[in-house]
């Protein structure tokens, strides 16, 4: 029953990767792990010999009925999503892509998630297991290909977002989900504070909302699920013919997907050629501080006039070039937590 899909490039170079890591460790030579090289802007620049992951590709195993797929880290996100789409399934955390070369290993190493994050969960919530190359160049297996597994410490989830500082991700197993039967996105004109109030109210009801964003006076909401519930929710939101709607692949979601936003709202000028938005992740309690959200965002000394924010607390604001989550990043204070420091792979 296990189905092994074959992609154009299906090759296992784990042995060679292990050998490279082993040698680098012996020589104490830092490595820079590179997949599609589309996320280099994220985190601090790394000085080291590249460890090329893009050649380690293909689906190791995929059984749609098990809702589990195991994939080599260098596989492009688009290839993986195509393979899942054939069986009407998806990666529910909607990994953002920063170009066609974006790999699934990079998505997991950076731990970024897409618009479904507040409802379905983050990248780490869908990682079931991983094979990881240790600093000594050994291939270690943590977690597995089953939904529930509490044996030992949860090393595979610890790898998510660790940016390769704890080991090199070789293969990753994910829980996947069926695609929703119906997907429908709506647009409602309202100021930011009203949008925040509305989302807080909607959040307390069991509605089929899977994404929400506010941008330039408009609240976007994506409804997904069964036909009946999506239609009922549309009516509840008061959306009738007069409101323009767009489908699942509506431009709004794909721009949020890649954490990019168009610059045309930036005072009518093109402020930045390749804007990379700030990404703030704020407590949902900001909703109960009605009115504060906009003022916090506008008064922050590092930010220009706010032009966009979203319900999943991703405030997308051109033109800035770094992610705030990295700027405010602090190392863990506890001295003994720095056990990873002696790892050369970075």
């Amino acid at each position: 029953m296990t189905e092994t899909a074959t992609l154009n490039a299906d090759q296992d170079i784990a042995d060679s990767l292990c050998a490279q890591v082993k040698q680098a460790y012996a020589e104490r030579a830092p490595l820079r792990i590179v997949g599609g090289n589309t996320r280099a802007f994220y985190g601090l620049p790394v000085d080291g010999e590249p460890l090329e992951m893009a050649g380690h590709t293909g689906i190791v195993s995929y059984d749609p009925i098990e809702l589990v797929i195991t994939v080599r880290a260098g596989t492009r996100i688009s290839d993986l999503e195509d393979a899942l789409a054939e069986h009407n399934q998806m990666l529910a955390f909607e990994p953002p892509r920063f170009g066609s070369a974006s790999t699934i290993g990079g998505a997991v190493a950076t731990g970024l998630s897409g618009p479904r994050r507040p409802w379905a969960g983050a990248a780490r919530d869908f990682v079931l297991g991983a094979r990881v190359i240790s600093q000594e160049g050994k291939l270690l297996r943590f977690g597995g290909e089953v939904m529930k597994n509490v044996a030992g410490y949860d090393m595979s989830r610890l790898m998510v977002g660790a940016q390769g500082t704890l080991g090199v991700l070789a293969d990753i197993s994910f829980k996947v989900l069926p695609k929703p039967t119906v997907s429908h996105s709506l647009k409602l004109s309202m100021p930011l504070d009203d949008a925040l109030k509305k989302l807080a109210k909607l959040g307390r009801q069991p509605l089929p909302i899977t994404a929400a964003a506010w941008h330039a006076g408009e609240l976007f909401v994506r409804l997904e699920g069964g036909k009946s519930s999506v239609n009922a929710t549309r009516e509840q939101l008061g959306v009738r013919k007069s409101v323009r709607t767009c489908g699942a692949n509506c431009a709004t979601w794909s721009t949020l997907f890649s954490l990019r936003i168009t610059t045309r709202h930036c005072g009518g000028c093109r402020c930045h050629p390749t804007p990379q938005p700030w990404r703030w992740i704020l407590p949902r309690t900001i909703f109960s501080m009605t009115g504060r959200a906009a003022s916090v965002l506008s008064k922050h000394p590092l930010t220009p006039t706010p032009s966009a924010t979203s319900a999943n607390r991703q405030a997308a604001m051109p033109p800035v070039t770094r992610l705030l989550s990295m700027a405010v990043r602090k190392p863990p204070s506890h001295h003994s937590i720095q056990w990873w420091k002696n790892i050369t792979v970075s």
């Binding site: 029953m1 296990t2 059984d63 009925i65 098990e66 809702l67 589990v68 731990g111 998630s113 507040p118 780490r124 919530d125 240790s134 270690l140 297996r141 597995g144 089953v146 939904m147 529930k148 597994n149 509490v150 044996a151 030992g152 410490y153 949860d154 090393m155 989830r157 610890l158 977002g161 660790a162 989900l177 069926p178 039967t181 959040g203 307390r204 009801q205 069991p206 509605l207 089929p208 699920g225 069964g226 009946s228 519930s229 992740i281 949902r284 309690t285 909703f287 109960s288 607390r313 989550s325 990295m326 405010v328 990043r329 602090k330 506890h334 003994s336 937590i337 720095q338 056990w339 990873w340």
Partner: protein
């Protein structure tokens, strides 16, 4: 092999006089309730895995975080091991005391600190009962999703320690998916906050790591959990099958139809009969297997899905399909499943509950293997299965008063777990390793992987004082257990003494 702490293979523990430690702790934390007389210690000698009992040296019952912090600092300075215990309902001996250790009981921390309906968060002390969270959230139309069957008694701190599951994991996840933040105190007495009220935090995901770490890395002092809007409706279908394999295939068919049920449970004949005899749930006693499929969500969708599932079950060869007519009947269907363990307990003086997980497609093969082990040993095995997420709970029936039967039950249990590992699964889905499955860890992990676990433990607790001997076996234990993976015929760590 005996699973009680054995210093020869589990590592040496420091020697000291109980009276010295007691005097020291009484002086350094004067307000702390410390139990030291045998009759006071007796109730704490085991957790939910009652087959194993050890009298702790001392029991500490703190009421303030300052007491916990000072106690930990003092134990750290004295080199005294600390085993943390919540409600004591764990099934893997995770809170099994040490003869030369302090048992730190967190059950007095049972305040719900706040419920924020707009943020959909609850801030809790670790001793809050799992069910109490949902009860407190109910007025806002919210609830806490993970529901281990001990939810009436088990505490949220223990849920975090074991990464507890329940019958709704496929759709709603385990504890790790529903916890936003935990505060811990390390063995050195340092307070740390992992995670936050925001969805993602920069840095290593130590929050994920803390879930399921079995009290080995820190003592959990506060937990913030996600609350979900209560589904508008929930409906349960019960399908009977004349063949376990057909029922197993039906589970795959439901998922292939694009449906993720809120709960999807399977029981075999012995479990059905036991449950029916006990709670009169209306189960078909002549069936070889039943499936309980709960669909929850928005009313209109649930009705559509019920139709689809009914068709799928018919096609899969179900001999009978019943939809619970009302809330009362739905509760009755679930009562049979939720009481399956005590029901089986009525059939036999003792039972031993396993917790392996497998890819669902392996179910027929693993069930055959279990049947063979049952026949060979003469011990009946009833099967209860979280079919949706591949988590099996075989219940091995035995009589501890009959010489050698406990040992035989343990042996059969160990072999069942090895079957699960061989099928690509895991030795534990939700109960944890604790002390119970310490030997089977050696079959699931290689020596290099176990060494990484030890390195991680050392980062938080270099002196191995927090819950020593649980969760991760020493390499010496694996060598003795004889299940160590030998790669290329090179014995890992040849420098270790073998017994």
């Amino acid at each position: 092999m005996n699973i009680l702490y054995d210093e020869h293979i589990d590592g040496e523990l420091q020697s000291f006089e109980k009276s010295d430690i007691l005097a020291d702790l009484q002086q350094s934390v004067p307000s702390l309730t410390l139990l030291h007389r045998e009759e006071d210690l007796r109730p704490f000698e085991c957790d939910g895995l009652a087959a194993y009992r050890v009298l702790p040296m001392l029991v500490a019952l703190p009421e303030t975080l300052e007491q916990v912090q000072t106690l930990l600092k003092r134990c750290h300075a004295l080199g005294v091991p600390v085993v943390t215990r919540g409600a004591g309902t764990g099934l893997s001996g995770g809170a099994l005391p040490l003869e030369r250790g302090v048992l730190l009981v967190m059950s007095r921390f049972k305040k719900i600190l706040s419920i924020d309906p707009d943020a959909r968060l609850a801030r809790l002390q670790p001793g809050v009962r799992n069910l109490a969270i949902s009860e407190a959230a109910a007025p806002y139309g919210l609830y806490y999703a993970p529901d281990p069957s001990s939810q009436i008694a088990c505490s949220i701190g223990g849920n975090v320690a074991e990464n507890a599951g329940g019958v709704h994991c496929l759709k709603y996840g385990l504890t790790v998916h529903n916890v936003m933040r935990v505060d811990i105190i390390t063995i050195e007495g340092e307070c740390m906050t992992l995670g936050s009220e925001a969805l993602d935090a920069p840095g290593f995901d130590l929050l994920a790591l803390m879930n399921g770490s079995e009290g080995m890395l820190g003592v959990v002092t506060e937990i913030t959990v996600k609350l979900l809007p209560k589904p508008e409706t929930a409906k349960v279908l019960m399908a009977s099958f004349d063949d376990v394999e057909k029922a197993g295939r039906a589970v795959g068919d439901i998922i292939a139809a694009g449906i993720i049920p809120g709960g999807l449970e399977m029981m075999d004949k012995l479990a059905i009969q036991a449950a029916e005899d006990f709670v009169k749930a209306g189960y078909p006693v002549e069936a070889e297997a039943i499936l309980l499929c709960e669909l929850d969500g928005v009313e209109a969708d649930v009705d559509d899905d019920c139709q689809t599932v009914r068709q799928v079950l018919e096609k899969a060869g179900a001999t009978d399909i019943k939809l619970a007519r009302d809330e009362a009947e739905r509760a009755k269907f679930w009562a049979g499943r939720k009481n399956a363990f005590p029901a089986v307990g009525r059939m036999s003086p003792d039972y031993y509950c396993m917790d392996g997980t497998i890819p669902r497609r392996e179910l027929p093969r693993v069930l055959k293997g279990i049947a063979a082990l049952s026949q060979e040993s003469g011990l009946p095995v009833a099967n209860v299965f979280h079919a949706g997420d591949g988590n099996m709970h075989p219940l091995i029936l035995f009589d501890a008063n009959r010489e050698g039967e406990l040992a035989l039950a343990e042996e059969v249990g160990g072999k069942i777990l090895e079957l699960c590992v061989a099928a690509g699964g895991s030795i534990t889905g939700e109960h944890g390793v604790g002390r119970e499955k310490i030997n089977q860890m050696c079959s699931q992990f290689q020596a290099d992987e176990i060494s990484v676990f030890h390195a991680l433990k050392a980062a938080f607790d270099p002196d191995r004082l927090l819950n020593p001997g649980k969760n991760i076996p020493t390499l010496a234990r694996c060598a003795e257990f004889g299940a160590m993976h030998v790669h290329n015929n090179e014995l890992p760590h040849p420098e270790l003494p073998r017994f």
